[in-house]
Every structure is written in C-alpha cells, then in structure tokens.
C-alpha cells in the first residue's frame, strides 16, 4: 500500500538527486558551503526539504491564483486594468515573499530542531562571519532592488489612465474639463466625473458641454458609467476626510477637504454590472454605512441614461420654476388681500404687508 513513493522521495536516488534544481549547481553550492567549515552546511535531507517546500509554495500560489478564491490571498480585481495590474504586481511580490518566508522560516525551524540542547552537545562559540553577513546584506539588497525595478516597470500602467476602447462611449469634444494633462489618458479623452464625499454619501457630478456647473447631471450613491470607456475621477470632500474605494476597480484615493485627488478605471465591454465598495477612511459614526456603487452599462445605455437624466433635470427645473412662480403669485395675492384687509382695519399693520411683499420677492429671486 505504501509502495508508491511520494514524488519527493525520488530525490534520494543518486541520479535524480536535487531534482528541483540542476544537480550540478546544487552539488557545487553544497561543496562551497562545506569548504568553509565556519558556515554550517545543510545536509542532503534538508536541501530536499527546502527545495520541496519552495516548490510546494509556488505550487500553492499557482493553485490559489484561481479567480474563485482570489481575495483569499490577493486583492480583488477583474473590473479595470489598473486593478488587474495591481493584482499582478501583488502576486509577484507575494510570491517572492512566500519564498523568502519559507527559506528564512525553514532555517529557523531547522535551527531550533537541529541545535536543541542534547547531552554532550557543545555550542560553537562563534561571534560572526563577515563574509556571510556581507552576503546576506547583499542578498536582501538585491531582492529589494528587483522588487523596486518590477514596481517601477509596472507603475505607469497602474497610475496613468489607459485610452478608451474603440467601442467605448464617444466622449463629446466639449465635455473635457480643464485639468492636468498628465492625469488624462494619452489621447486626452476620458469621461471625467467629479466625486464629492460628504458624511455619509458620495455625490457624482457628470461633465457637460457648457460652463454652467449648475445644470450638470448629478447622482448620489450610484455612479453610472459606460463600459469600454476610461473614467477619470476628481475626488473631493466637503466636510471630513473620506476615501473612495471600489476594490475591483483599483486602488483607493482619499477625499480630503481643500484638495483634489485623482484616480481612474476602465470597465471592459462585457463586464457590465454593479461594482461595490465603501468609504475607507474613518469619517464619523456612520462610516460603515458610507457605501459606494458603480453601475457599468453599455455605451448606448449610458447615452440614454445621460439623456434621460438631462431631460428629467430640465423637467425638474421647469417644474420647480413653475412651482416657485405659482407660489410667488399665491403669496402676492395673499399679501394683497391681507393689505386690503389691513387698510380697512388698522394703519400700523401696513408694515406687515410690505414684509409679505418682500418675502414674495425673495421667493421669486
């Protein structure tokens, strides 16, 4: 029953020894370690353990890399290229971290198992080993350097917005709000939405072609965006600090009063749907309830939605104006009636009629 050897035991054979690393290099490293009697050498068994542990870690990382359990070991992604790139960068660093952990932790465990006090054992009175110390300092520096280079290579893709896809929403020319060129995609075209944090909700202001900010489409709680289109966000706050975060759409950006922060996302075509997140900076008692939601729709649907919002905004404006006019008329009529009544009774009440008139005037304004 136990005849079938586990795969790592094959390494005990003389020919397949060091199956994970090329045999020669393993032997060479080992010989080099042995030559210096001050550096403790690892036994064959420990090499096997170490290499299989690293292999296991890499294997586990690859297995868990499946999208289903992605948020178990890595940040969420899948809604926007910058989130995907952050995920990739994280995966690289995480992989390096796992290998380092296994190597160092393995050495620690090896040491406490192998060098426990036994009768007759004598501790080696060793004060240090300059070569070894320089070696591991250089090794640590090398790893940091590599991680730094990888980060710098990936940074522009995460920080700088991509161009919109060809089948994305066609952004009308006049829609561009004037802002720093560097924060825009290369082609200079993005749907730029103002995001304003306030206790405890987000307000989204959409761009339009005119300079008048009063008639822009606004939305609370849910940001509707077209897919295939780069959306850049100008993030502000009107009270305390908040942080904009939709995990699947990339990183956080703090909303800080007095400052404008920036981030971007581009939800690919075919990934229409709702993406949720919440405020990530303590902003008061209802911080936990300050949710953020992005609903991605096709460009056509977005055009319709925007037009619908515009129309209902215009209708609401007209209705509000009508209401105000009506109210002003009513007030004026009431005031006139009051004044007429007052004239017949007492002269001192005439002041109140002027009050009523000015109030009606204020309402009209």
């Amino acid at each position: 029953m136990f005849d079938a050897k586990p795969p790592f035991q094959r390494a005990s054979g003389p020919t397949t020894r060091g199956w994970f690393l090329p045999v020669q290099s393993v032997t060479r490293i080992r010989q080099a370690l042995r030559r210096s009697n001050r550096i403790p050498h690892l036994t064959r068994a420990s090499w096997r353990t170490l290499t299989s542990a690293i292999a296991l870690a890499i294997g586990l990382t690859l297995v868990t890399a499946g999208p289903a359990s992605a948020s178990f070991w890595a940040p969420q992604h899948g809604g926007s290229p910058n989130a995907d790139r952050i995920h990739t960068l994280y995966a690289v660093v995480f992989g390096v971290g796992v290998v380092i952990f296994i190597a160092v932790f393995g050495a620690l465990v090896y040491a406490i198992v192998k060098f426990r006090a036994r009768p007759g054992a004598v501790a080696e009175q060793l004060h240090g080993n300059t070569r070894l110390e320089i070696g591991w300092t250089a090794g640590a520096a090398g790893i940091v350097l590599v991680l730094g280079i990888v980060t710098f290579l990936m940074l522009p893709g995460i920080r700088n917005p991509d161009n919109s896809d060809a089948d994305g929403w066609a952004i009308p020319a006049g829609y561009q709000t004037a802002k720093d060129k560097e924060l825009l995609p290369k082609d200079g075209k993005s749907l730029n939405i103002d995001v304003n944090g306030q206790q405890y909700a987000w307000r989204f202001t959409y761009p339009d072609a005119d300079q008048d900010r009063q008639n822009n489409v606004q939305a609370y709680e849910e940001m509707v965006v077209p897919t295939g289109t780069t959306v850049t966000l100008d993030i502000r706050s009107s009270d305390v600090g908040h942080a904009w975060w939709i995990p699947k759409l990339g990183g956080k950006a703090d909303a800080l009063p007095g400052y404008t922060n920036h981030t971007w996302f581009k939800i690919p075509r075919g990934k229409e749907g709702t993406y949720v997140g919440q405020c990530a900076e303590l902003c008061g008692r209802n911080h936990a309830n300050m949710t953020a939601r992005v609903r991605a729709v096709t460009p056509d649907e977005f055009t319709q939605w925007l037009a619908g919002q515009k129309q209902s905004l215009a209708q609401a404006g007209v209705a509000a104006q009508q209401f105000r006019d009506q109210q002003a008329k009513n007030d004026a009529a009431a005031a006139a009636a009051q004044a007429a009544e007052n004239e017949t009774t007492t002269p001192e009440a005439s002041t109140s009629s002027t009050d009523a008139e000015s109030a009606a005037g204020a309402a009209q304004r």
Binding site: A74, L89, H287
Partner: protein, 556 residues
Amino acid sequence: MATVTATPIPQVVAHSVEKPMKGWVDWVTTTDHKKIGIMYLVLTFAFFGVGGVEALLIRLQLAVPDNTLLDFKTYNQLITMHGTTMVFLFVVPVMAGFGNYFVPLMIGARDMAFPKLNALSFWMLAAGGLVFYASVFFNPPECGWTCYVPLASKDYLPNGGVDAWIFLVHLTGIGSLVGSVNFYVTIANLRAPGMTWSRLPLFAWTILTYSVLLILALPAIAAAVTLLLTDRHFGTNFYDPAEGGSPLLWQHLFWFFGHPEVYIMVLPGFGIISEVLPVFARKPIFGYKAIAASTLTIAFLGLMVWAHHMFTTPSPSVVLVFFMVSSMLISIPTGIKIFSWIGTLWRGTIIFATPLLFAVGFLGTFLIGGITGVILALYPVDWQLHDTYFVVAHFHYVLMGGAVFAVFSGLYYWYPKMTGRMMDEKLGKISFWTMLIGFHTTFLVQHSIGLDGMPRRIPEYADVGNLAIYNLISTIGAFILGIGILLTAINALRSLKHGAVSGPDPWKANTLEWFTQSPPPQNNFDAVPRVRSVEPMKDIRAEIERRNNEPDPVSA
C-alpha cells in the same frame, strides 16, 4: 624656612540618617530606578489589560455580520481607546519600564543619571493615562488613535474627548522626552569601567536608539496636538482648509512622529531578543556590530518613511516614490537582524525555556510582519491594501507578534531578577503556546479579511464574500490569545509568592545585571567589575572556574 602647613585632621560629622519611607509613601516618593521601573511595568501591564478588554469588545462586535451589540459611537470610542492605550500607555512605556530597571544594572550604574527626572517621567505617564481614562466618565474621543482632522476638529467632535486625547499626548510626551534624555545621559556617562561602546549590551543600544528617536520625533506630535488644541479652542485655523489651513499638515506632522513611534515600540523589543537568544543558545550573539549598526540604520531610515502612511492622499508622485523607496530600504537592516538572530541559534545548544520560546515566536511572527511590510511599501499595491484589515493584520504582526512577544520574553527572562523568584515554566509554556495559536488565529486571517474588501474601523459589515467566517475565526482567536495572556498574568502574580527562589543568576546569563543579587539591593552593586567583553558575566564565570582549578597557592 619650613612653612608649617596645617594638616587637615579628619573629622567625623554626624548627619541624621533619614528613616526609610515605608509602604505606599515609599513608592510614591521613590527615585530608585528599580522601583520606578516596577511601577512602569505594573502600570503599563494594567493598561495592556484594559486595552486587551477593549480589543475583545471590538472583536465581539465584529464576530458576526450586521452585529448590533455596540452602537457606532461606542465602537468608535473603543477603537480610539484601544489604539491609544496600546501605543501610548503600553508598548512605548513598557519599554521604558524595562529600560529603567535594567539599563543601569546592565551598564553597572548605581542609578539613572537623573533619578528625580526619572520619577517625573513616570508620574507624567500616570497623569496622561489618568486624564485620558477620565474621559470615560464624560465622552471618550471617537476619532481613532490617529485623530485625523477635520474629523477631530471642533466642528465634528466638539466634546472633550479629543481634548483628553491631546492632553494624553502632551503629558506622556513630556514624560517620554524627559525619560529619553535621562536614558541617553545614563548610557553615555555611567557605564562600568571597561564598557566601551562596542561592549554595550544590545538592549542598552536599542534603548539608546529609542531615546534618540523619541527626542527627534516627539516635538512634531507635540506641535501637531498643540495646533489642534488652538484650532479647537482659540480660533486658529491651522487645519481648516476653508481658512487656508491644511488637513494634510496634520497627517504629515502626526506621521513624522507616528512612524518613528513604530520603531520606538519595536527596537527595544529587538534588544530584548538580542539578549535572550545568546543566553539560551549558550552562544555569543552572531554579528554584534551588525545588529547594533542595523539598529541605528533602522532608526535613521525610520525617520524618513512617514508618508508611507499617506500613499492614498493627494500627494505628488515624487513624494510617493521617495517614501516607497525609503520604506523598502528598511527591510535590509531588518533582514540583517533576523538573519543574525538565526545565526545566533545556529550550532548552539538551545535550551527551550519560556523566554526563548517567546523569542522564537517573535522571530516567526515578526518575519511575516516584515514581509507584509514590504508588500505595503509598494505604493500602487498599498492603494488596494491601505486602511483595510490587511494593514491591521500587518501592524499587529509587528507590534503584537513582534514587540509584545519580545516584552513577554523579557518578562519571563528578567522576572527572577526583579522579584528573586522564578516564574512557573510549565504555566509559561502553556501560556506561550496558547498565545501563539491565538495570535495567528486572530491575525493571519485578517489579511484575507482586508483582501476581501473590509476596511478598518467599521463597526458592522455586510455578509458578503467570506467575511462572516473569517471574522468569526478572528474573534475566536482573539479570545484564545486573551486566555494565553491571562495565564501569564496569573503566573506572574502567583510566582511572587510561590515561585522557586532564583538566586543571582538563574539563566547563567551574559550581562552585568546578573552579577548582583535578585532582587538587587538599593545601591545595585557593592563593586562593579571591569568589563572586558560584551559578555562580562561569561568572563567572570570563566575566571572563577580558572581560579578554582588553580593549585592551592599555600600548599604549592
């Protein structure tokens, strides 16, 4: 022409001998570094207990989704109290407690350089804790231990809780500053004959570095909270953007202190580990100079990484890049330390006493905290992880699994010196394993909680993803951890009376504090031996051995 000079005749002048104080008066009026050290340790461990109970309440609230155990206000107050207590009233001052008791003993001094200042710094800490916890009776602060403005301004939190927090920072800050100057002067001037800088015990090196960091970092937070105080009460607008102030200023000032504070908390822990490992591996520390130098390097770099707490703020790219690189660099000296500690264990004869267990537990957990630290240092990655439970997990690995495990190691290691009695080994080992299992159950899963999208400082969460099961695991772990800590508390109290009598040097340790009796007499040492290496006690033991083996000079 011999001039006759009057030879001074020795005279005995009788001074009245003051009666030693008795009972609590003695404790309140004492300037003895050992008594002050004990008071520091007792007070800070009491605060550790209070902060721990707050942590358990937080975990209870988060045990299940949409919990209604605590209301939002209470929850925010609890996270503020927990964070502030653990940072300002436990980890930083507990290191001062160990430093107070052991630095003079380790360097062969009779007391600290300024005994009265020493008492002042303790009573400042006590006053700070008192002022802060007095707010429980009216309105504790609810702005988190970072008290970010504008949330902490008078417009949003007008009640006195934030003011209590400000006074806590001021009072404990003065205490720490005075204490730091005292440590610096003591270590610089009162070392035993022969104790050159390269023979200074590594714990004393870390306390020296701790002091320098505190002296450099505390003025920034003192200024920050003073500006906040005037903003709140005297009509200034340092942090109000509407009046030309800047909330970002607060973050810079706070973290200019706040990040060195992290190293202030953890460096003395490193020192404890560097003392404990060689003793129980029966081997000299591996790379003494590298460890001492990396302590200084970490402190230097630690002053230049503060804005990595602000990667998501509207800051220019050049700022983000600078702080990313400086933060990554810190992993190099930290790595050197970890490698050197493993090198210390390597080829030793390791005795698995409780102090060593805690030290090894520290190595494992701190390694994980260090690796997640590098992940967080990359600012694009931090954009996803910032202010989530991943960060909470990271800093608990560094501060709880790192600094606190080191403190427990130090407690078990030095308890015999402070009380003259050993702590119970069996209970200690049970406590260690309970704490280790509880710790990792609580905090390992918190990485996944953060990656699953849960931000910090929220009192309730929806039942999405795996949040419910992860949080439940974490809460169960927290209670296991709590039991483990309780066992050590019981052990410490019980061993006061029932512990085996330890004698002066139960561990056959290396440093001078083991040269004197346990507990040491008020004057510490009747005679201080000349120090010839970083391990004077080993030399002394070898010398005694040599003399014992010498043939008797009389009979020869």
